[in-house]
Amino acid sequence: MKNKRDNYAEVTFEAISENEAFARIVVAGFIMPLDPTIDQLNELKTIVSEGVTNSVIHAYDSKGGKIKLILESYQNDVTVTIIDYGKGIEDINKARELFYTSKPEEERSGMGLTLMEVFSDEFYMSSKVGEGTVIKIKKSLELSKEMSA
């Protein structure tokens, strides 16, 4: 089995809804060399989509701003970091609750952060009101290595 090389990518883009698809394509391209399963690929795309969407609609109230996406891989572990410089979150524990949303009038379901946690192996979140939010997740693609070995 060939050794996987460590890798790193960073992209900063405007917080507009068009870039939700762009960010999914970035993560899909980044993990291609790691031979992910279809499920792993879809789960990572969902994680990125949820994080970027939250920055677009919550952090910047759909008025635009900057989002930074950082991707790293070590062996078969991938980490995804999503950073915004928006309004921040007052109560992180409440935000993480399944079905909690501060925008029910926009037909949000309050599932985004829960999906990010469920689809990753490790989840970290920090936020400061008025300064922004950082979410970092780690996902192991170990299973795909075993299956293709």
Binding site: D39, N42, T46, S49, E50, I57, R108, M111
Partner: protein, 116 residues
């Protein structure tokens, strides 16, 4: 790779065939198009066909919950058919399983509603 949508009506049921990717960006146009149709026609039930949808996130759940609340007012039903792997997982997590009717395909959905 954006969303494309095909609509058709069978008596009082609106069938919505989704293909491509349903996210926050594409969900707003979908919501508007459904609402316009619901104003124009007497629609009781809605059937979402996921066969050609390759991606959906929580924004799709929001659209379905919103349409469920609409059809519920007229004692209508919301159906979902041709669910695949990760979309099925997200729908399960959302609890939509408890309020939706899930069928294998459009034919089964038509039979269920008696609009075949």
């Amino acid at each position: 790779m954006s969303l494309s949508v095909h609509f058709f009506l069978k008596s009082d049921t609106l069938f919505i065939r989704l293909s491509g990717e349903l996210d926050h960006h594409s969900s707003s146009q979908l919501r508007e198009r459904i609402n316009t149709l619901m104003e124009q026609y007497e629609i009781k039930n809605i059937v979402f066909n996921f066969k050609n949808l390759s991606f959906m996130d929580s924004s799709g759940i929001g659209v379905m919950l919103g349409r469920y609340n609409q059809v519920k007012k007229n004692k209508g039903l919301l159906l979902a058919c041709d669910l695949n792997g990760s979309i099925e997982k997200i729908i399960k997590l959302s609890g939509l399983y408890k309020i939706l009717v899930i069928t294998k395909d459009e034919e089964q959905a038509s039979n269920y509603l008696g609009v075949a």
